[in-house]
């Protein structure tokens, strides 16, 4: 995330330049980013701000924060698609609890069908949407490319059944720090369902990098986790 959030203890926030410096420090070549204003102020305002701030940096891919289409300024899916094409939007984020909506089919069904069709990954935190809704949207949209973010080490009981049933569900690792978590996911589901994420500015990329580097899995699988899986998801977006 770039931009100043509402709550800024330790003055811990990044603009695009500082983010690039952190990326360089940790040898992170590319990143999907969203803007704090999209989360903490106004989704569309922040999305536009994001495009402005990452302009000229081809290694930062925009991830737009969306709302249900009925209350989003680009109020038809055709118009949203136009915006996505113009700005090369490669992923979206939803914050249902924070933005005061629920993932019911009547509210987000059309939007999710649209994202499913275009193979646009959705980054979603179960802690901001509820596991029941995550299960429900996948029943209705089984091909949705869903990246579970902001996970915790206590959530394997929810994660495993999803990975077993839905081939397009992915685990972003920065929060999933359960004991032997990478090894367990690899043994059960292979190496293509895990994705490196830093969760900057809230976490240090060093945590997840070390976790992957020291995992007891083949080196080629580490490459998939570090960048190949995410790269494939981004490349497969059909705008």
């Amino acid at each position: 995330m770039i931009g100043k959030p509402t709550v800024v203890p330790l003055n811990n926030w990044l603009d695009a330049k500082k983010l690039s410096e952190e990326q360089e420090r940790f040898n992170i070549k590319k990143a999907l980013v969203y803007h704090s204003y999209s989360r903490d102020y106004d989704a569309y305002f922040g999305d536009k701000k994001l495009i402005e701030e990452i302009k000229g940096n081809p290694n930062l891919y925009p991830s737009w924060v969306l709302l249900p289409i009925d209350i989003f300024p680009t109020d038809t899916l055709d118009r949203l698609l136009e915006e996505f094409k113009i700005h090369k939007v490669k992923a979206v984020r939803l914050f249902p609890d924070l933005h005061n909506f629920i993932l019911e089919e009547e509210i987000v069904g059309d939007l999710l069908s649209f994202l499913e069709e275009l193979k646009i990954p959705i980054l979603l935190s179960p802690n901001n949407s509820g596991w029941k809704y995550i299960y429900a949207i996948l029943r209705n949209h089984p091909n949705l490319r869903l990246v579970l973010v902001d996970l915790t080490y206590r959530q394997s009981s929810y994660i495993f059944p999803l990975l077993k049933r839905y081939k397009n569900v992915y685990v972003e690792l920065s929060g999933y720090i359960t004991f032997l978590g990478i090894e367990t996911l690899y043994k059960r589901f292979g190496g293509e369902r895990m994705i490196f994420g830093s969760n900057l500015p809230y976490k240090s990329p060093g945590s997840t990098i070390y976790y992957i580097e020291k995992a007891d899995i083949p080196d080629e699988i580490k490459d998939y986790i570090a960048y190949k899986n995410a790269d494939r998801l981004i490349q497969e977006v059909k705008l």
């Binding site: 330790l10 080490y153 206590r154 394997s156 359960t178 004991f179 900057l200 997840t208 070390y210 976790y211």
Partner: protein, 247 residues
């Protein structure tokens, strides 16, 4: 590298592979962790005695790799003195209290003997703290038992409490701040070192409750001097052990 806040076994409400001491040794070897100071998760839960036995078994199997905390339950107060003496004779090196799961206040009367014991023997007491109230309470307790070493488990846990923790610990020399925690807030290590130096900050991971590797990466990649990292990851824990040995 010494992990001063580790565990052993399973936890009741979430899943992970392993958790037995052999699975712990395997990962410790992989990451070059010299030793872990452990308390059994079942001790923090329903059976302190069985858990302390499990820790003893691990200590006997790998005496150089596992140091044991004696976990006490405030609900078996008449057993505390005997448990401390028995386990001390078996080579345990500290006390672990978990007021959070035991739903008992840090300054509750049933814990006072443990503090007195630690004070007399210059022992570390690792106390789980979560929230501002715990941080304030442990600070006051530490002032009353100046020879004991109070390890403020999780340093209060949430970010607001962690910031308060360093403010309060600044002037109380027998409080050590513990980095253990799932959140691993970016910037807090640098903030702590700036506020109180690195000599009273301890490395911990909660492992196998949580995987130890992310915490190592967090410390290793923090923007502090190498000598500060060495203090946090190793030297401060060694110092605590040397105080116990001297005694």
């Amino acid at each position: 590298m010494i992990d001063t806040h580790a565990h052993l076994g399973k936890w009741f409400n979430f899943y992970y592979d392993g958790g037995d001491f052999l699975s712990m040794i395997k990962i410790m070897d992989r990451i070059g962790m010299e030793s872990a100071w452990i308390s059994a998760l079942i001790s923090i839960g329903p059976d302190y005695d069985l858990g302390n036995e499990m820790v003893l078994e691990a200590m006997r199997a790998f005496p150089d790799r596992f140091k044991g905390y004696i976990t006490l339950s405030p609900y078996f107060v008449d057993k505390i003195e005997g448990e401390l003496k028995k386990r001390a004779s078996q080579g345990f090196v500290g006390i672990k209290l978990h007021p959070g799961t035991h739903l008992y206040p840090i300054d509750g009367v049933n814990y006072l003997y443990a503090y007195k014991y630690a004070d007399e023997n210059k022992w570390p007491v690792l106390i789980h703290t979560w929230g501002e109230r715990d941080v304030r309470t442990i600070t006051e307790i530490a002032k009353s038992y100046p020879n004991a070493i109070f390890i403020m488990g999780h340093s209060g846990g949430d970010l607001k409490s962690m910031i308060l923790a360093v403010e309060l610990a600044k002037d109380v020399d027998n409080i050590y701040l513990d980095l253990t925690g799932s959140a691993m807030y970016n910037g807090i290590i640098e903030y702590y070192v700036e506020k109180i130096g690195s000599e009273r900050i301890l490395f911990g991971t909660d492992f196998p409750f949580i995987d130890p590797r992310p915490a190592i990466g967090w410390v290793e990649s923090s923007k502090i001097k190498e000598e500060d990292k060495l203090n946090i990851l190793h030297k401060n824990a060694e110092k605590i052990l040397s105080l116990i040995k001297e005694n």
